[in-house]
């Protein structure tokens, strides 16, 4: 019998190089950035609300999604073994990576073994997390991002600022400028019409798709009982990468599992409506190992821990592993809308980043992030898998009280809330995206909330009813005003 092995924290782009308030300062001062974020998040909130409202069993779907994920977490070791066996039987090769560096080494070795010096990439948070592009470049392998927003970010020598739309911080004029500067084959008279920009990206990547030998993807879901991987996308760049190259390498966090193929009936309803605000995204691809004569014949799956075991070890923080990266919580967060994604340092911004990053690294390494929130609760309302983000934030604050960090962070948050009008507007917008769930929350939280003031002060009652450290924080802040 082996001695128990301790869960381990992870590496890669999940640490804030600067405390949140310091990192947020330039963003909060950048009026163009704030205008871009405001416009984009307002658009997506309205779209989401419309398609969620038309689903009569939305709450039942959320309940199922939340329970399926809790079940996955409880049975993660056995489900991973089952997934490995199913995928292997279907012709895939499964690799395991303890951390970001090991995952990168595996992908580099597989790419070299395929004799390639370039890869095409499908947008993937996991590969951003492990800093795969940097590792490939260091190994002399060129990585081409093919998702439009990832392409914009890559050409702009920037980093993603949103889970779903990594280039959300750019408007159309800025995107045109990046294309003209960095895309050699961009038309000289490129306009800033979104259709023209999309056309330029199509022409730019076409030849690369048709000749690529190796593709790297992530996966939205990995199905244990069948060994199936699922990628949800819009543009068709995903289909290109998943279909045309001979070798396909998918980097998948261990938490992405679902027990059965049938469980997709829940998540493929929850995800598109929550993320792009569509009834269904344009394309979803599912593949199980190798299909002779159809698609890649050399199929690899890299299962990555990189801190997930540490998240699993905390019974209160564990539900952060339920996240399906829809980004609904970012889009309703008044702090995200002000500060932008880069302020969170990690690839995971917004409310989910504020709980996930500190858990992946250990709270000491990301001590400011649990304070990057007003605890208004809008994120919990919209989360399709019902992660109680405010509760986990408070729990993490308790773990690492860092008074200077806390004070500094509160100063930044106070900017958001300084003007009652501004604060009310931020909350109202957040609420608009929450749709009918606001009422549901009232019912649900009624049990543990003693007194609720009418909105917007209800946000304060909520935080005051939470465990002591948070409410002290807010009372202190309140007292200073």
């Amino acid at each position: 019998m082996n001695p128990p092995v301790a869960p381990a924290t992870g590496g890669g782009r999940i640490r804030t190089p600067l405390p949140f308030p310091t990192a947020a300062k330039p963003a909060v001062a950048d009026t163009q950035l704030r205008a871009n974020l405001h416009r984009a998040t307002r658009t997506i909130r309205a779209k989401r609300a419309r398609v969620v409202d038309e689903v009569p069993d939305w709450e039942a779907l959320r309940d199922a999604g939340s329970a399926i994920k809790a079940d996955v977490q409880r049975r993660l070791p056995e489900l991973l073994e089952q997934f490995e066996a199913s995928a292997t039987a279907a012709g895939a090769t499964v690799h395991w990576a303890r951390d970001a560096a090991e995952a990168c080494r595996i992908v580099v070795a597989l790419t070299r073994a395929a004799g390639a010096d370039e890869v095409v990439k499908v947008k993937s948070m996991a590969t951003q997390e492990i800093e795969l592009n940097e590792a490939l470049e260091a190994a002399g392998i060129a990585a081409y991002e093919t998702d439009l927003a990832e392409l914009i970010v890559q050409l702009g020598d920037d980093t993603p600022s949103h889970i779903l739309v990594p280039a959300i911080h750019y408007n159309r004029a800025q995107i045109r400028e990046i294309f003209q500067r960095r895309m050699a084959d961009a038309p000289a008279d490129l306009s800033d019409e979104p259709a023209a920009l999309a056309e330029a990206a199509r022409a730019h990547l076409r030849r690369r798709f048709l000749s690529a030998r190796v593709a790297v993807s992530g996966a939205n879901f990995a199905v244990a009982d069948t060994g199936t991987l699922v990628v949800v996308e819009s543009e068709g760049n995903g289909r290109m990468c998943l279909t045309l190259p001979e070798t396909l390498i998918s980097v998948v966090g261990v938490e992405k599992l679902l027990p059965t193929f049938t469980d997709l009936e829940v998540f493929l309803q929850l995800l598109p409506r929550s993320s792009t605000g569509e009834r269904m995204n344009p394309y979803t691809s599912m593949w199980t190992g190798v299909t002779p004569g159809d698609g890649p014949q050399d199929v690899h799956i890299v299962l990555v821990d990189n801190g997930r075991s540490a998240v699993l070890a905390d019974p209160v923080g564990r539900p952060a592993l339920s996240c399906i990266r829809c980004s609904a919580c970012l889009n309703v967060c008044p702090v995200y809308e002000r500060a932008g994604g880069h302020a969170y340092g990690s690839v995971y911004p917004g409310p989910i980043g504020a709980i996930l990053s500190p858990q992946l690294t250990g709270v000491a390494d990301n001590a400011s992030l649990p304070y990057a929130s007003t605890l208004c609760g809008a994120c919990y309302d919209v989360c399709p898998v019902k992660i109680n983000i405010p509760e986990i934030l408070v729990h993490l604050r308790q773990q690492a009280p860092h008074p200077p960090v806390e004070r500094a962070t509160m100063r930044v948050l106070s900017w958001v809330m300084r003007s009652p009008r501004r604060w009310a507007a931020a909350l109202r917008l957040a609420r608009a995206g929450a749709g009918p769930l606001g009422a549901y929350r009232e019912r649900r939280t009624g049990a543990r909330t003693l007194r609720r003031l009418p909105w917007p002060a209800s946000a304060w009652t909520r935080s005051r009813d939470l465990p002591l450290p948070a409410s002290q924080t807010f009372r202190e802040w309140w007292g200073k005003q």
């Binding site: 128990p4 092995v5 301790a6 871009n36 984009a40 658009t43 997506i44 039942a60 309940d63 199922a64 809790a70 079940d71 409880r74 070791p77 991973l80 073994e81 490995e84 279907a90 395991w96 990576a97 090991e102 093919t146 280039a167 159309r172 995107i175 979104p194 259709a195 999309a198 199509r202 076409r206 798709f209 048709l210 199905v223 819009s234 543009e235 068709g236 760049n237 290109m240 279909t243 009936e265 792009t276 569509e278 009834r279 269904m280 995204n281 344009p282 394309y283 979803t284 691809s285 593949w287 199980t288 299909t291 159809d294 698609g295 821990d305 075991s309 540490a310 699993l312 070890a313 019974p315």
Partner: protein, 200 residues
């Protein structure tokens, strides 16, 4: 210790608190009770800018605009009645570059979800392999009304998970620029659906 064994051991340690078993509540709808599934489907398809045609007579008219057409090897002959353009059957398999030179592809499908306007291909009859419906810029897809179900859970029971599955909801699109949906990036920029069968 191998990475595999170490990760599994870490995860087992992490679950030392022995979380209780979970009952998954499945109170969501599994069968659609809407009377007019086809009407819903057409509404959804058109909402995402697919173009809907009804009846087999629509095919010759549509195909008359297509000079070079790709088809899977088992395409039903009556779909091609009167087609006078260049026909490219996918046998031996057409290269990606060859597919890129063609104007359109004509296929069938496996299952269609009315609620979301989603066409599902499973590489089964009249569908061919995945590259066929991906590279040409225009996809003409024949849907029989008996392939239409209401909700996503109904569709999943009709699918073989081991088949490569492609779910298509409208033509290629992106929302990456200011979160507005714009049609047409890398996948087919035109999606045309031909409905056949009773109720079409």
């Amino acid at each position: 210790m191998s990475a595999r064994d170490e990760i599994l051991a870490r995860l087992r340690t992490a679950l030392a608190d022995n979380p209780p078993p979970v009952q998954v509540p499945r109170g969501y709808r599994r069968v659609d009770d809407r009377p007019d599934l086809i009407g819903t489907l057409v509404d959804r398809l058109e909402d995402y800018r697919a173009v809907v045609h009804r009846g087999i007579d629509a095919l010759p008219r549509l195909l008359s605009e297509v000079d070079r057409l790709a088809v899977p090897i088992d395409v039903p002959a009556d779909w091609l009645a009167g087609y006078a353009g260049e026909l490219h059957r996918d046998a031996p398999p057409l290269s990606a570059a060859a597919l890129d030179d063609l104007d359109a592809v004509l296929t069938g499908c496996a299952v269609v979800v009315a609620d979301t306007g989603t066409i599902i291909l499973d590489a089964g009859p009249a569908q061919g392999r995945r590259a066929l419906t991906l590279v040409p810029d225009r996809h003409i897809c024949v849907v029989r009304t008996d392939q239409v179900v209401g909700l996503l859970p109904e569709a999943l029971t009709r699918l073989d998970p081991r088949a490569p599955l492609t779910w298509i909801s409208g033509p290629s699109a992106t929302s990456d620029i200011e979160l507005n949906r714009v049609e047409g990036v890398h996948g087919p920029r035109r999606l045309e659906v031909v409905l056949l069968g009773s109720g079409a």
